[in-house]
């Protein structure tokens, strides 16, 4: 087992930069998810860690060894990382046991030891009785488990997952998610897990690296990402946060400050050392908006849509002072709002997005 450190890594494909100055440190035994929209460079990052792509700038270290830099590149077969590919990449001409034992055969492990370790790996993923099957005769979930066992058997220093659940149906996804979490707990392997599904990342990871357009946006725990996004991209990407313009009116005190949003004054959480400033942004969640009476602080606007979702409705709203800003919140039963109706809302709390945007 070993940690992974990615330092100022840049990757250019011709003119375009697929990755731009990305730095991530993964601690020994940590489960880190890389999350971002499709095309943001997640797979490229993974392939560089595995050694399939060279870096254009910066370097990558696994444990205490530098494996990638602009000058030198350790080939994938010498890195001792395991990969679980999105489409499993099981060799169709080998049985399940042969697939799993391949790395050991390459390393010239004796036959008896090999059989034992393959047996253990099969047991680890609950596939003991499937050793003699061919991959073609397995279900999607079983293939996934074989792929997992195959990458574990060689005791890699680091396991990489590239969207491993993207090809599975919803039910299987949930149960595999549990299995991955369970597996990480049991083995303590360092894991880098790539996904575009934030629920998956939140459920599994110790920390999440959010990426966009080849840049690292924020690297933090799931809670921190949700409650204290470092910039607008993270704020709006995670759980559909709303980003609203605000003026900061007081200095930070006790992690809070007073802001004016859409004409309403309120207290939001913020970083240490925030000073009053104009043109700031806050992030607030659907749960932090409520409808209020005419005399209470708040702002007027029009309901544009109300979609009933069983037990509650998702209500969309346009503030009168800034009709381009679409807000949304949930109203519990009995649902009374309808499209076209006027309403008065108030924001109850929120998070002041830091000015520098840095993670």
């Amino acid at each position: 087992m070993a940690g992974l450190s990615i330092n100022n890594v840049t990757k250019a494909f011709g003119e375009t930069k697929a990755l731009d100055d990305v730095s991530i440190d993964v601690a020994d035994g940590e489960f880190l998810a890389v999350l971002g929209p499709s095309g943001c460079g997640k797979t490229t990052l993974l392939r560089m860690i595995a050694g399939f792509e060279t870096v254009t700038g910066g370097n990558i270290r696994i444990g205490d060894r530098e494996v990638s830099s602009a000058e030198a590149n350790t080939p994938p077969e010498k890195r001792r990382v395991g990969i679980v590919f999105q489409n499993y990449a099981l060799w169709p001409h080998m049985t399940v046991s042969e697939n799993i034992g391949y790395a050991l055969k390459v390393a010239r492990v004796s036959k008896t030891e090999r059989e034992e370790r393959v047996g253990n790996a099969l047991a680890l993923v609950n596939m003991e009785q499937y050793g003699d099957r061919r991959p073609a005769n397995l279900s999607g979930g079983q293939r996934q488990r074989v792929a997992l066992a195959r990458c574990l058997v060689a005791e890699p220093r680091l396991v990489l997952f590239d969207e491993p659940l993207a090809n599975l149906d919803v039910h299987l996804r949930a149960s595999m998610e549990d299995e991955f979490a369970d597996f990480h707990k049991r083995t303590g392997t360092t894991i880098l897990y790539i996904t575009h599904d934030q629920a998956e990342a939140m459920a599994l990871a110790d920390r999440i690296a959010v990426m966009d357009h080849g840049r690292l946006m924020q690297l933090a725990t799931p809670r921190e990402l949700y409650h204290e996004p470092a910039n607008e991209m993270v704020a709006s990407f995670i759980s559909q946060g709303m980003v609203l313009p605000a003026d900061v009116e007081t200095e930070e005190a006790d992690g809070q400050c007073r802001v004016r949003v859409l004409g309403q004054e309120l207290v939001v959480r913020c970083r240490k050392g925030e000073k009053p400033r104009k043109d700031a942004r806050i992030c607030c969640r659907a749960s932090q908006i409520e409808s209020v009476g005419a005399s209470q602080p708040g702002f007027e606007g029009t309901i544009t849509r109300a979609v009933y979702r069983g037990g509650s409705a998702r209500v969309e709203f346009e503030p009168a002072v800034a009709s381009h800003l679409g807000l949304h919140f949930d109203q519990l039963d009995p649902v009374s709002f309808e499209a076209g109706q006027r309403a008065r809302l108030a924001i109850t709390s929120g998070w002041l997005i830091p000015a520098d945007g840095a993670a």
């Binding site: 050694g51 350790t74 994938p76 391949y102």
Partner: protein, 567 residues
């Protein structure tokens, strides 16, 4: 750490070096040698050979003839091939699979066998016409001994080639394009003329170029049909010169073979120009268009299609088999006079013929096995490699096959006429020079399906082996070879079938003791022993059918489109 890197680079370097050596030996060397012969004879620059070649009147006549039969054959093959492709792809005719199999089969049969079969069908000694009492009187000239005959047979031989290419193009035609035209009110004829055919331009032009090159380089058909009529094309002129003059005329025929090469190249370049003039790219992918309902015409059309099969496949084969059963010249074939003696004679009694069966067997087995083992690493570098210059060298492997066989044969002669330097080994006048030429010429037939195979294979399978710690050679052996072998072997089988009856190259390179089956058929026919030629040919056709059957047995393990006769 550095040691590890060295070891890996070692394997990479070995692979690269091997491939470069291969391309140099089998492609660049013969071509360079050929060019040297005509512009740097004896090491000094001189244009004498070109000048002498150009003032020779026979050169011009043969060039003219080559162009006539080349263009004529191409045109005929195009009309036939495109028409059949449209019927099969765009209409609701039945029994497509079987029809395609039958229609493509002539491509699998060697041209000289086709020529022989057709010759047996017409002419005064035709057993079939005699049985029907329709034979022309003895002494009448066979109508196929003419330029028209050559064009006709070239057309039949290569129409399947056109068909395969155009059919592949039509399969990719998205149905929306056809349906959009239909809903704009266009009838089928109009859709065909304004949408389908224009969109098929790249396929049709590509097919035309390939067919033209094949027709221009074809030796078997003009040799069987043209030499008796003294109608010479460049390949047959080269053959006659070389047969008459031996190595002394090598420079002269080197010029002629470069001339064929140039004509072939012009065809390829013209195709490139036409294809790049407009953008024909089809961007969307979807289901193929709904077939046109022929309605009451379906039965007549189907009848016509099978009549075509009867004409181009069944009749000539029947003619061939009947001839192989005839006792002697002028003896009318009846149930009583039919005999298997001819088969017995060619297999057991005729020394050169029985030798030739073995020679051709060894040669084609050698060429196909070599090609399979070379195609896998070569395809790996071309399909999955990241070195640009190796991709450029891919063109170099195409060259010995793209250019007519005569060109390579003459180049091999020039290369090996003298003993090889350093070793002093002499392969001229042995079977080894034929093997060399076969390896060079047919390698690409295995490389192409292998590359197709690589493109259909998920690269993650190899990457998974890399992260498991396997080095290049280990991955080749345990992962890549087992997965890609079926495609490469299918290619090897194509090579085997092509090489088994090959004539163009071996006609120029054979010597006593190193006869090939193609040469034996040719010699029998030239010596007037059509019945023996027919017997050998019939055996070869049967072998071809067997091999096709064999390949079809493991067809479901192959990438799509590797076996040409499978629709």
């Amino acid at each position: 750490m550095t040691a590890i890197r060295k070891e890996r680079q070692g394997q990479d370097m070995a692979l690269t070096a091997g491939i470069v050596a291969l391309i140099v030996v089998f492609s660049l060397l013969p071509m360079v040698r050929l060019l040297q012969e005509i512009i740097l004879p004896g090491g000094r620059f001189s244009l004498d050979i070109i000048r002498l070649g150009l003032i020779d009147e026979t050169t011009w006549r043969a060039t003219w003839n080559t162009l006539v039969v080349g263009l004529g054959g191409t045109l005929f093959a195009l009309v036939l091939g495109v028409a059949v492709a449209i019927l099969v792809s765009m209409s609701n005719v039945r029994q497509r699979q079987a029809f395609v199999l039958c229609f493509v089969t002539p491509l699998m049969i060697a041209p000289q066998v086709t020529a022989l079969a057709w010759l047996q069908l017409f002419g005064p000694s035709s057993p079939l016409l005699n049985m029907l009492g329709m034979a022309p009187p003895l002494g009448t000239r066979n109508p196929l001994y003419s330029p028209e005959g050559i064009v006709f047979l070239l057309g039949i031989q290569y129409a399947p080639l056109v068909f395969l290419i155009v059919r592949a193009g039509m399969r990719k035609l998205p149905r929306e394009l056809v349906e959009a035209a239909q809903s704009s009110g266009a009838g089928w004829v109009r859709v065909l003329g304004t949408i389908i055919l224009p969109l098929m331009t790249p396929s049709i032009v590509g097919a035309a170029a390939l067919t033209f090159v094949s027709c221009v380089g074809n030796f078997g058909i003009p040799a069987f049909l043209g030499i008796p009529a003294n109608y010479l094309v460049l390949p047959t002129l080269i053959y006659q010169r070389l047969a008459g003059g031996g190595p002394a005329v090598l420079s002269e025929v080197a010029f002629l073979s470069v001339l064929i090469g140039v004509i072939a190249m012009i065809g390829i370049v013209m195709q490139d120009r036409i294809a790049s003039r407009r953008d024909f790219r089809i961007t969307s992918t979807s289901l193929p268009a709904a077939p046109y309902q022929l309605g009451v015409w379906r039965l007549p059309v189907e009848f016509g299609m099978w009549a075509l099969i009867a004409l181009i496949l069944v009749l000539p084969l029947v003619g061939l088999i009947l001839t192989s059963l005839v006792r002697g010249y002028g003896v009318t074939l009846t149930a009583e006079t039919a005999t298997l003696e001819n088969y017995y004679f060619v297999i057991f009694q005729h020394a050169a013929a029985s030798r030739a069966f073995l020679n051709s067997l060894y040669l084609s087995a050698g060429a196909s096995i070599f090609a399979v083992f070379v195609a896998i690493p070569l395809g790996y570098v071309i399909a999955w490699g990241n070195k640009r210059w190796i991709k450029a060298l891919n063109l170099a492997i195409e060259l010995p096959y793209a250019l007519p066989g005569v060109v390579l044969a003459i180049a091999s002669l020039l290369l090996f006429l003298k003993p090889m330097p350093i070793t002093g080994i002499q392969i001229y006048n042995t079977v080894w020079i034929i093997l060399y030429a076969y390896l060079a010429r047919f390698l690409i037939l295995a490389v192409r399906p292998t590359i197709t195979g690589y493109f259909q294979l998920d690269r993650a399978l190899e990457e998974a082996a890399r992260v498991a710690g396997a080095g290049l050679f280990m991955r080749m052996r345990t992962i890549i070879f087992p997965l890609i072998a079926p495609a490469a072997i299918a290619g090897g089988l194509l090579i085997f079938m092509t090489a088994l009856c090959e004539l163009t190259v071996s006609a120029l390179l054979w010597s006593s003791g190193s006869e090939t089956i193609g040469v034996v058929i040719f010699s029998f026919e030239q010596g007037g022993d059509s019945k023996y030629a027919a017997a050998v040919s019939a055996i070869m056709v049967a072998t071809t059918f067997l091999l096709m059957l064999l390949a079809s047995l493991f067809a479901n393990k192959l990438p799509d489109g590797v076996l040409p006769w499978r629709d």
